[in-house]
Amino acid sequence: MSPASGDAFELLAEKAGFREFRLKANGLRVLLLQNRVAPVATFAVVYHVGSRNEAVGYTGATHLLEHLMFKGTPEFDRSKGTAVAAVLEALGARFNATTWFDRTNYYETIPSDALETALAIEASRMRRAHLRDEDRVPEMTVVRNEFERGENSPFQVLYKETFATAFREHPYHHPTIGWRADIEGVSTARLREFYDTFYHPNNATAMLIGDFDEAEALASIARRFGPIPASPRPIPEVYTTEPPQEGERRFVVRRAGEVAWCGLSWRTVAARHADTPALAVLGNILGGGITSRLHQALVEKSLALSMTVVPWQLRDPALFSVFAPVRPGVEPAQVEATIRQEIARVAADSVTEAECEKARTQIEAEVIFDRDSSDQIAASLSEAIAVADWQWYADYPAAIRRVTPADVQRVVLAYLHDDGLTVGTYVPKPSAGNGAEASAEEA
């Protein structure tokens, strides 16, 4: 580390190749991981703000704001020929931004000699985004079309309704993209207020992964981000918690379509909880590949077309979900009953050590495969620091390795019971307009 950057940063911790620093001037966390597979690096900034920080009236604000962050700053401005996306595109960068329940992230994977440009863009838009009404108006309709695309997907409709039903008080109730009326109605001033509340260096983690020189990178980060002041006020905490669920909840969505879907979701724990690794292992035993229990029970028995198991890992207590498109001709109730039977089988008889070992191996391998490329590590790390911290990611393989069949059975008994269950069914309504030949010539 150079003397200059050494003065600017405090080294907080290091483990498994990661080094975590704190920029003394403003509290920005900086996470470095050298991974010199290729002359490529990924720079990402994760803001600790997501739809979890929203409420009715401005649901979707985090996501709409993320879109507006591409509309420019004084330094990166379309009118000057330096639009954010155009500058990154010309570098050949793989870049984007995403919003989720607990975080918003901005990332660029670039040839490593272009790192300075990525740092300049992210430093500029941390506090200097234009956020103009003339940008919000057309971007709102872009986002609304994104919302509409989601509404076309039975799976997305099902999981959105699942969260809205399972969470009544906690903001996980709201979809990240927002409710339609809020997307349309939120004002630019409200978005500005959101930006001014959450977009500060002390509410962000910057990460640099790949091919870089540590001393040079830290010096550049200090130069670009150091002058940005910390937030004038403390970042607001979310204090709303979801009370225990006291009985099964059910919902049905009926829309025109061809294929029914079935979803079962149980209330579980926050990612940091000690039971998270056992729930992850359970997820793979039930849904990890052709040999998994639910694939065998649903797909191999021709009850479902496929199935997905999601042990959601979020900052606050979340869900353990199973979703399946039902094969036409099969009743969704049969798929639901089969899923329940498989859960009951684990509750009664546990799982085998061989199943547990396979699941542990698969999850450990995912972490090793992550290291194949800087953007894969950045993606996994972004999720980890949003729901816990980077050390949680670094420790994850060891925590998975410690999971036993008894742990898997215990978490099923503790969480996958009917009182914490939400069952959703997407029922296709027959429609005369949906036939394969329903086309009209307009030549």
Binding site: A38, A90, P111, T141, V142, A256, A436, E442
Partner: protein, 431 residues
């Protein structure tokens, strides 16, 4: 902690990739890349829908998909158990976009390289296509086709392909009802016959990249594949380019908040054509990115009419269509379509600006480096270069080839192939 050494200057691919051609024609390529204890496998052979009977094209994709359903030595479940228990994966697919090839994709931790290579050899050489597995797959396929019928994007694309390509063409797309009928008529004899006729080593190319010993991998693959039948010699009968079919069609689906619009026309562009790179750069400036291309800036960024708009040439060994696709709120379709066609018309008439060409070149060269940032990225790039007959050295030469494209070449190549008045326009949604 000691900082890792800097990424070394990359040696030329032409010098660092080990290569062996077997007596039966199979071509094997291995690149040692020891930064992470993993390996990526990518490969292909000529057994796609182009080679299937015109009234039964799907036999190609089903045969490829059923390869993993059991061999002379292992059942589907045993094979899956052996791979999944080691977090290894292996798959075969013949997709709609490329009528010629079957893609082979695999990955494993490097400790399991033998497991992956042995499974690959076994599956290629001795699939048994169990009847009960095909029955299950037919049920799943019928359900999946019905599921596709509710997707506006697929419905728009498929209708466009049905309009612009005649039924005999490998890119023609039958209706959902027709496809369900074809699935139900499949039997394992058809798969066995297609396998016997089309599968073999002569057109097979395999690329392995990762933390492996090249000679060991080559030896093991040669031991497994060296005695495999050559099968048919590589040959690619050209299906021809039909004339454009201008017109419009609406596929009406109920309860769809979003509509998809596809503009398509046949093109004569193939991947091996000298015009491919100029056309590809010209297309990038027009419509590769929803954020930065002309279509993206106009239809999304300025007018707010779409979340996503893209244009592309589908050029493989055989010529495919030029397609522009966008998503819209149904009420915005006409405005979005007008803006799209207006922008394409201006672009065809005026060509790229010098600045656009310079930015697209810079972007393409930078993205090329970024895409080579993983074992799988390198494996895919090598596989594509070999598949199209460019050779390994193409990866070394690519930046120079991009840099050499002129504005005149790009404008002329694009304008020769894209005519706004020739589009078939299909909208799918609730109208």
């Amino acid at each position: 902690m000691t900082a890792p050494a800097a990424a070394p200057a990359r040696r030329l691919f032409a010098e660092s990739v080990r290569h062996r051609t077997l007596g039966n024609g199979a071509r094997l390529f291995v690149l040692e890349n020891r930064f992470n204890p993993t390996l990526a496998l990518s490969g292909s052979f000529q057994a796609g829908r182009l080679y299937a009977p015109a009234d039964r094209r799907l036999v190609a994709s089903v045969t490829a998909g059923e390869l993993m359903k059991g061999t002379g030595r292992r059942t589907k479940l045993q094979l899956a158990e052996d791979l999944e228990s080691r977090a290894a994966s292996l798959s075969f697919a013949s997709d709609l976009g490329d009528p010629v090839g079957v893609d082979v994709v695999g990955s494993a931790l490097s400790r399991d390289v033998d497991l992956l290579l042995d499974a690959l050899v076994e599956v290629l050489r001795s699939p048994v296509f169990p009847a009960e597995e095909l029955d299950k797959e037919k049920k799943r396929l019928v359900g999946a086709i019905r599921q596709q019928q509710e997707q506006t994007s697929l419905r728009a694309y498929e209708s466009a392909m049905r309009r612009i390509y005649p039924a005999s063409h490998p890119l023609h797309r039958p209706t959902g009802a027709e496809r369900i009928g074809k699935v139900e008529a499949l039997d394992r004899g058809m798969l066995e016959a297609f396998y016997a006729a089309r599968y073999g080593a002569a057109s097979l190319a395999l690329v392995v990249v990762g933390d492996v010993e090249a000679d060991r991998v080559l030896d093991r693959l040669e031991a497994g594949l060296g005695s495999w039948k050559p099968g048919p010699a590589p040959a690619i009968p050209q299906p021809g380019v039909p004339p454009a079919v201008p017109g419009a069609e609406t596929v009406r689906l109920a309860d769809k908040a979003n509509a998809d619009v596809v503009l398509a026309m046949p093109s004569d562009l193939v991947r091996t054509d000298a015009d491919f790179l100029p056309c590809s750069l010209a297309n990038s400036a027009l419509g590769q990115s929803s954020l930065t291309s002309r279509l993206g800036v106009r239809v999304r960024d300025t007018e707010g009419l779409t979340y996503g708009i893209h244009s592309s040439f589908s050029a493989t060994h055989v010529p495919g269509p030029f397609v522009v696709s966008l998503t819209v709120k149904p009420e915005s379709r006409d405005a979005a379509l007008d803006a799209t066609l207006d922008e394409i018309g201006k672009y065809v008439r005026g060509g790229m600006t010098d600045k656009e060409l310079a930015e697209e070149k810079s972007s393409r060269i930078g993205r090329f480096k970024v895409d080579l940032g993983s074992n799988s990225g390198i494996a895919q790039a090598l596989d594509a270069a070999i598949y199209y007959g460019f050779g390994v050295a193409y990866l070394d030469e690519f930046p120079g080839k991009v840099a050499a494209v002129t504005k005149a070449e790009a404008d002329a190549a694009f304008a020769r192939r894209v005519r706004p008045e020739a589009f078939t326009v299909v909208s799918a949604g609730t109208f």
